[in-house]
């Protein structure tokens, strides 16, 4: 970096005292303004809509970069900047404030950087779609909401933006709502995450009832002096964690994420891989001071994360949809991050979050490039041999794969290394789960690469028509590939967040093992799938019944569908029974519109249909009086 340029920009930034703060507000609101303009003014002009949306996130990115440089060079302490938002008596005080500590700055760069690449990529991917403008409006709305989460300095604000990303994610998953599956997936995502959110709200209110504030800094300062019992502390931690379970798709609320792949691929990359699903991890890191004192909460978090990691990785080995494999991989990596928070390493978790955002976005965009080339074919068994046809997509996809698997010297190696070392120190069972996951990761990604890009083309017709994607799509791929390579070097990211604790010296054997595991995974995948005509048959034979289980995702969807159906059925039955038996025995059957016959209705009225209702009212009065008076 050119030093005079840096100093110049920093001086410019400082000249009028509060510029850094102003820029934070612009970073947040630029995408919202773009979304509003697109929705209200320019829905007809597609080019203008896209330009507005991309311009807004580019502006946010540039200002975030400026903020980062000011901080990195001058070490200017961030000033809390808040405006009073809502005061209810002396009880509730909510402010709207911005936080710009290193944690927030790192996340700002990730969201706006990856977001910018994906916005540009969407230009190519969504070309010719009738909802082009709507897409960019939703994308900008999402960016605004996500930046809101990153910058929030209190629980209520973060919760509102938290729900807003949920809503914009709902709009984008269901973007192609003509497809019933897409509409259904949007609803499922919204509902499932809401379960976690409601728990989170209760946790927030519980904490507030003890501390009297929602502000992170105030809570952090007050917490030690509150004298909360371990039970309450654990309860608060776990309730707030349920929000992350929903948003970051941890077991048992993970079912929505794979279905969310019904949305357009850039959406999968931005929202359901790089940023929104990582918001849960970010939030846990943001409130790590709340979770770290409670051993119980930490344990639960670590185990939920560990189980999610290995379970999702096993499911991924049997999927056939190019995007679903990546979706389960995302679940698995999010599990890693959550586990890391639970093991007491928020810094390591943020490190992995950052590198994962780069290479997972890259992988999704690469998959999108393949999907477009094959006219929206997503089944990996109808691909094959594409590496010659799409060289840029192939090479960048390969870089993403290696980074995800954790092959040195790519970024994923460094961040995953830190996680595995931490697990090795803290908990043997979790370490074993984590290392198995690392092996499986390399294996299923190897399978995907070999099946998609090597071997004989299995669908000759679409193979012949396939070609490399245009520049607007390949440039973001190259940009993200570069980031996936360098993001882990020299431990810059963790240093920025505050150096990692010295992990001590580990034996050469352990380090060697950590390098060998992914290579071994690739090797196994290569022996099975690096053939002209690859197939799952040998694995199927070897795993037997287990294959059926993983292929069906351990039947979670079926279980939940059954529960929902059962519960809804039961309620309907109870209502029906109530109508038919109790009320009819008393002489009525609800509102008798269904019969539509004057005579019958009047007869029902005359034969005392209402006396049944009246009887129930009387019964209610009697019960209440009995309970209160006689008791």
């Amino acid at each position: 970096m050119n030093h005079w340029l840096l100093n110049y920009s920093v001086d410019w930034g400082m000249r009028n005292g509060h510029t850094p703060i102003c820029s934070v507000w612009i970073i947040l609101f630029a995408p919202l303004v773009a979304a509003a303009l697109i929705a209200l003014v320019t829905p007809k002009w597609k080019g203008v809509s896209a330009a507005l949306s991309i311009g807004a996130i580019a502006l946010s990115f540039a200002l975030s970069m400026g903020l980062f440089l000011v901080f990195a060079v001058k070490h200017i302490a961030h000033q809390p900047h808040t405006i009073q938002w809502l005061v209810v008596g002396d009880a509730v005080r909510i402010e709207f404030g911005m936080i710009t500590d290193p944690l927030a700055m790192l996340m700002l760069l990730v969201v706006t950087g990856v977001g910018l690449a994906i916005h540009v990529y969407s230009l190519g991917y969504m070309k010719g779609d009738p909802g082009f403008s709507r897409f960019f409006a939703c994308l900008s709305l999402f960016t605004f909401s996500m930046l809101g989460i990153v910058l929030s300095n209190n629980f209520i604000q973060i919760f509102i933006f938290w729900e807003l990303v949920g809503a914009s994610s709902y709009l984008l998953i269901g973007f192609w709502f003509e497809k019933p599956s897409a509409a259904e997936a949007g609803k499922k995502a919204f509902l499932t995450t809401r379960i976690g959110d409601v728990g989170m709200m209760l946790g927030i209110l519980l904490l507030w009832s003890r501390a009297g504030t929602f502000n992170f800094a105030e809570l952090q300062a007050k917490l030690p002096s509150l004298g909360l019992s371990p039970g309450i502390l654990a309860l608060i931690g776990v309730l707030i964690f349920t929000g992350a379970v929903g948003k970051s798709a941890q077991v048992p609320l993970h079912v929505w994420l794979p279905d969310a792949m019904e949305g357009p691929t850039p959406v999968s990359a931005l929202i359901h891989a790089a940023t929104m699903v990582a918001a849960g991890v970010y939030m846990l890191c943001r409130v790590s001071w709340l979770i770290l004192p409670s051993a119980t909460a930490l344990h639960l978090i670590a185990w939920i994360g560990g189980i999610t990691a290995i379970m999702a990785a096993t499911i991924a080995i049997a999927q056939n949809d190019i995007k679903r494999i990546l979706a389960y991989s995302t679940l698995s990596q999010l599990g890693y991050m959550v586990m890391t928070v639970g093991l007491g390493g928020p810094t390591q978790a943020m490190f992995h979050l950052t590198t994962h955002a780069f290479f997972k976005a890259l992988l999704f965009l690469g998959a999108g490039s393949v999907i477009v080339a094959l006219h929206h074919e997503q089944d990996i068994w109808k691909m094959g041999g594409l590496w010659k046809k799409m060289p840029i997509t192939f090479w960048t996809f390969l870089i993403g794969t290696l980074a995800l698997a954790g092959v040195p010297p790519l970024s994923g190696f460094y961040s995953k290394d830190e996680i595995l070392l931490l697990a090795f120190e803290k908990s043997t069972p979790l370490f074993i789960m984590a290392i198995t996951t690392a092996f499986l990761t390399a294996y299923y990604m190897g399978r995907e690469v070999f099946v998609v890009f090597f071997g004989q083309p299995r669908d000759r017709h679409s193979y012949d028509h396939a070609h490399e994607s245009p520049l607007v799509m390949t440039l973001p791929l190259i940009f993200l590939a570069l980031l996936s390579i360098v993001a882990g070097w020299h431990g810059r990211v963790p240093d920025f967040l505050g150096a990692l604790p010295e992990t001590g010296h580990h034996s050469v054997l352990l380090t060697g093992g950590l390098i060998a595991v992914p290579l071994f995974g690739f090797l196994v995948a290569a022996t099975i799938y690096w053939k002209p005509e690859p197939s799952d048959a040998p694995v199927k034979a070897a795993l037997g019944q287990l294959w059926t289980w993983v292929e069906n995702k351990y039947y979670f969807d079926e279980l939940y569908a059954w529960i929902v159906k059962y519960v809804q059925g039961t309620i309907a039955t109870i209502c029906d029974l109530f109508d038919r038996w109790i009320l009819q025995r008393l002489g009525i059957g609800g509102l008798s519109v269904g019969t539509g016959l004057l005579g019958r209705t009047v007869r029902l009225l005359q034969t005392g249909s209402i006396s049944g209702y009246a009887f129930l009212v009387g019964l209610g009065v009697t019960v209440i009086i009995y309970c209160v008076v006689v008791r």
Binding site: V87, L164, G174, L205, I571, L591, S592, I610, V621
Partner: protein
């Protein structure tokens, strides 16, 4: 009565001017029917709506008065004014709906408007009630007009049946109320809330059994008005069968009136015996939340769905009353304010759609987003606000109620259970509200022709939508108003 005893009648007149204005206008409408041609049905409705809107604006120039009027029967404090404005707002919107709806009324459109006005007079009185006698009179004025309004479509069986059911059950609950009032008077010798409160405080010990009995009977009547379990049974039937403007007025006006009475009675007259009614309302709130939200799941008629939803929302607001602290009361007031906008928005959209489709089934709202983007958006936003999705106003309403309950839970652990039940209800409610949203945006319409929206309707919809979004982002005005209103009870 302090400060202006000398010319009290002037102040009395000052206090009831809104009621008088509405009553006079109502009589004028009746007279106009004799002279104006029937083709002016809509115009009269819109004019009346304009008049009420003007009265609403005028109400902001009224100042609250210290003490009580009409020999302690009537109050014009901030609480009363808050509710009066709320009722006038609801009436304005309902009149717009009624004007839209008027072509479907066979005869007596002018009477329909006039009845709405008289009903609103009763509600305005309810806002100021400070005595059991006035309570009963005002309550009956509202309820009896609703009997007629609910069965106004005389040729349609559902409407007739709704009116009959409301009549008989309403009469029953009125009977309980007046019986209870007699017991209270018999045991304490007063019907005035202030005197009653002093009497109960002076009592020190447990009140006599007969008093508790009477109190519970009075609460029964009020529980009927707000559709709380176990007196909720009428709500879905009547909501579904009544003419839609009447349903809207029931959902917004009548419900708010019930809560106004409940708050006034519980936090002034019956405040000293909070230990008796507090636990009762805790249980009823939980039961009402579950009944309303579970019952809504299998519904496929939107008015019936909103009937169950209104039971559920009564449960949320009972949470605030059960919490019994200042935060809880102001939260209920805020909730009622935003709930009025949200619900009116939903009913406005429903009336516009059913005027074309003639069906209340949720399926008939399919593809509304395409047939009329503004109606689709309005209905969708109101569903999301009812579900409490931020940043819409419904979220902040629920947030304050939950905060009040959690705050109370610090001293009484039972309230944690209520908070958890409320949380479960919130999740369930999103499920069925999203069902409506899905019909609007994700299903194809059988008949994709556009739905016309008249200018006054459009204006009313914009007002409601701006309020829903605006109160979600900048809540301060309504929050401050509700805090000012809640202050009259002097709670902590």
């Amino acid at each position: 009565m302090t400060g202006f005893i000398g010319n009290a009648w002037i102040w009395n007149l000052y206090a009831v001017q809104l009621e008088c204005l509405l009553a006079i206008w109502g009589i004028l409408i009746l007279l106009s029917d004799a002279f104006a041609p029937t083709s002016n049905r809509r115009t009269i409705g819109y004019m009346t709506a304009g008049f009420v809107a003007a009265a609403l604006l005028y109400s902001f120039f009224l100042v609250p008065l210290q003490g009580s009027l009409f020999n302690g029967m009537y109050r014009l404090d901030t609480f009363a004014l808050y509710f009066k404005r709320l009722f006038l707002l609801a009436l304005t919107m309902v009149l717009v709906m009624a004007a839209e709806f008027s072509p479907r009324i066979e005869s007596g459109v002018a009477e329909f408007y006039a009845l709405l006005m008289f009903c609103a007079v009763g509600m305005l009185l309810i806002a100021s009630v400070n005595d059991f006698i006035l309570l009963f009179v005002a309550l009956e004025l509202v309820t009896i007009t609703f009997y007629v309004l609910a069965s106004y479509l005389r040729r349609q069986i559902p409407s007739l049946e709704a009116g009959t059911k409301y009549l008989i059950l309403g009469a029953l609950s009125s009977g309980f109320t007046v019986y209870g009032i007699a017991y209270i008077f018999g045991t304490t010798g007063t019907t005035n809330f202030d005197t009653l409160s002093r009497h109960l405080s002076a009592l020190g010990a447990q009140p006599p059994l007969a008093f508790t009995f009477g109190m519970l009977l009075v609460l029964t009547g009020l529980g009927f008005k707000i559709a709380s379990v176990p007196f909720q049974i009428w709500a879905p039937d009547v909501y579904q069968g009544a003419p839609t403007p009447v349903t809207a007025f029931l959902a917004v006006g009548s419900k708010a009136a019930g809560f106004a009475l409940l708050l006034r009675v519980l936090f002034t007259g019956l405040m000293p015996v909070q230990y008796i009614w507090g636990p009762l309302l805790l249980v009823l709130a939980g039961a009402t939340l579950l009944y309303g939200n579970l019952g809504a799941i299998p519904q496929h008629n939107i008015k019936r769905l909103l009937g169950y939803s209104s039971i559920g929302h009564a449960g949320y607001m009972l949470m605030g009353i059960a919490a019994g602290n200042a935060l809880g009361v102001s939260a209920v007031l805020f909730y009622l304010g935003q709930y009025a906008f949200t619900n009116l928005c939903a009913f406005l959209a429903i009336i516009a759609v059913t005027a074309v489709t003639g069906s209340d089934e949720i399926a008939s709202f399919s593809g509304l987003g395409k047939r009329s983007p503004i109606l689709g958006l309005a209905l969708f936003l109101s569903m999301m606000s009812l579900a409490g999705v931020p940043p819409l106003s419904g979220f902040f309403g629920k947030f304050q109620l939950f905060a009040a309950v959690i705050r109370r839970a610090q001293t009484d652990g039972h309230y944690y259970v209520l908070a958890v039940i409320g949380a479960v209800a919130v999740v369930i409610s999103l499920y069925f509200y999203l069902g409506v949203g899905r019909a609007i945006y994700m299903q194809e319409a059988e008949d994709p022709s556009p739905i016309p929206v008249s200018k006054p309707m459009r204006l009313a919809l914009y007002v409601c939508m701006v309020a829903m979004i605006g109160l979600g982002i900048y809540q301060l005005p309504l929050v401050n108003a509700s805090i000012m209103a809640a202050k009259v009870f002097g709670l902590h």
